[in-house]
Symmetry: C2
Subunit: 381 residues, 2 copies
């Protein structure tokens, strides 16, 4: 009952690829994968599609299909670039919009449409240049706990910058609560880090948390930049990946972006289903425009294996056409005793994140911070 549309319409033929792991009995797998191909594009009964590009080009196409572990198959589907347009969220919608609601489908990999083949603005080299740290792993910490007033948070910012920590970020729970309102916090912490930088000669940056609803997040990012912040922190699981991409693309905003994984755990732990953690915290965060991607390190308060963490780091750093490499940033419940091991695991190109644990090191936060940076620098330059 769809009228035939203009036969003159044809798509470019340029397609992006998505690799899925699909649970299915062998005799049903082809129908199952074909249903994904339709669900993620035309979402329409195939027999009712008119002849032409709507039937031939618009639906997903099966490019490869092979058995994986028992009861699972690995399917590579291609989708027309035109289905995503130049919109990251619509790209994610094609990759896993409705299919996320069907059990037994896991996204393992994707390539990007041409119009979205750009990553972070700074990347590893750019962030190193901003900070003036050419070789060693970067040191990062979080201002916390939630509930401290601005004066105390600013004091921590000063102390950790004086100790030489490169990236001093808000705890991801600092939003715009009355005890430490966003604008006042940003102004004071920027001042504090600048004061410390004048003493140290370093270029440490403060990264305030701009996570908020749409307009507010962008307004906060611009406020932070105007106030002199050196980076921003955002949780794409809460604010949406579109906020990250918008900031990374904006003409009037030019700061590195640190992505926090809050509220995203279900994407990678959905079983069976969800999204591969290396794809999620590596490739997707990078494609959204994050210069640094925080994820839960193995052996901390969270549950990722060392293998998963290494895979995330690899996806941050591997060559991808059009995308600068991003910094993996393992964190969560770590202290300085693990720095040597982290360097062995991740090499030099990572951002070590030690939060609350830093308050246990040394007699003062300044001393703890110095030890942290020294441990990262040892043997690295």
């Amino acid at each position: 009952m769809i009228d035939p549309v203009s036969p003159a319409i044809a798509l470019s033929g340029t397609r992006f690829l998505v690799t899925y792991l699909v649970a299915s009995a062998a005799q049903e797998i082809e129908a199952r994968v074909r249903s994904i191909a339709l669900e993620q594009t035309v979402e329409f009964p195939e027999d009712l599609l008119p002849e032409g590009y709507l039937r031939e080009q618009m639906p997903g196409q099966i490019e490869a299909l092979e058995p994986d572990d028992e009861g699972w198959f690995r399917a590579v589907l291609s989708y027309p670039d035109e289905a995503a347009g130049s919109d990251l969220l619509q790209f994610l919608n094609v990759v896993f919009g409705n299919t996320s609601l069907q059990p037994g489908v896991r996204v393992l990999d994707f390539s990007l449409p041409q119009s979205l083949s750009r990553g972070p603005r700074f990347g590893v080299k750019g962030v190193r240049k901003v900070l003036g740290i050419p070789v060693r792993p970067l040191a990062s910490t979080a201002l916390k706990p939630l509930g401290l007033p601005v004066s105390e948070l600013a004091l921590q910012a000063y102390q950790t910058a004086l100790g030489g920590i490169d990236v001093i970020k808000d705890d991801h729970g600092l939003a715009n609560q009355a005890l430490a309102p966003f604008e006042k916090r940003v102004e004071r912490c920027v001042e504090a880090v600048a004061a410390a930088n004048r003493e140290t000669g370093l270029a440490s940056v403060y990264a305030p948390n701009i996570t908020a609803d749409a307009e507010t997040a962008l307004a906060r990012a611009k406020f932070a930049q105007a106030a002199g912040a050196g980076a921003v922190l955002v949780s794409p699981g809460l604010a949406g990946f579109g906020v990250v991409r918008a900031l990374a693309d904006a003409d009037n905003f030019r700061l590195p972006i640190v992505a926090h994984p809050a509220f995203t755990g279900s994407f990678v732990s959905a079983g069976p289903g969800g999204i591969d953690p290396a794809l999620f915290y590596g490739t997707l965060m990078r494609a959204a425009g994050a210069d640094v991607s925080i994820f839960p390190n193995y052996g901390g308060r969270f549950s990722f294996s060392k293998q998963t963490c290494l895979a995330i780091a690899e996806r941050c750093l591997e060559a991808r056409a059009g995308l600068l490499p991003s910094f993996p940033s393992p964190g969560g419940g770590m202290g300085l005793e693990r720095v040597t091991e982290l360097k062995q695991t991740y090499g030099n190109d990572f951002v070590a994140l030690v939060g609350g644990g830093l308050h246990r090191e040394g007699k003062t936060l300044v001393e703890g911070s110095r030890r942290f940076v020294a441990a990262l620098a040892q043997g690295a330059c």
Copy 2:
């Protein structure tokens, strides 16, 4: 190493509740729940917290803890309203930010901080008033497939409105692709529905999909309103829940909001973990400000049980202080043959969504639409 902060600071004492299902051995459950209470608030070693409100009031507190199924416990934690402030995203961050990254924690229920105790702007009664349909279940359909040019989508909008369908929404895959650009599509589909309304005397509405990055989503919503659209569609899993709340709160935007579940499946299928589907598609969508919450109906292309779907509908409609009831909208792979059963299941207060299946009913889309509405109206008024 945190200096004692001003003893004059004290929180209001007003707290919100979150109920978690937690996997744990019995001898470890109390420590496990205490670690969640810290993780979701101060995220700081407890022994390093200074005396006073930071130790006494800021962390989560265990309000109830009892065994559930074997190996699982049901824990009710309270958090200070001040931890969330008046920010929906920060509220979600406290509920499940970092804890989403730990396996074996599932969110079953929450109450809202006072500053967030407001739901949709219209709710069930308000949407019924807009549409002029006092009693029967509402009829909804989607313009599709993705790939159709604007002229064809507008023709479908006209035909389905002529057939009396109440809410005619974009397919959630229609964004701003070149084949059917947003602004042109909205203008033409608004005209088409208005033309049909002049013939029928009805008040059918067109709900364009505004899902996009932050600024763009809000700009599209306002464009849609100015062009005469009667509602908007948004996918909070892609655009973020903050976009929904911002629209539901805005002074210069006043249209009902229909929420689509794209990209959210992992939240409810994460096992063990995630968020209860009734809480997610019922309470959370409603708290975000959605007047209508679409979810995958049982027995369609998706996997929810009838029990889960009924629980979602109940959460949309149950009494909650400060929140108007919202419309549950079961959809996904349904045809008219199921309308009688849907009415038996959901009663009158739901929005039946039949998409591609409508093209199989009757000789024309107008006739199929009329049959759909007639089936919903039968015995209802």
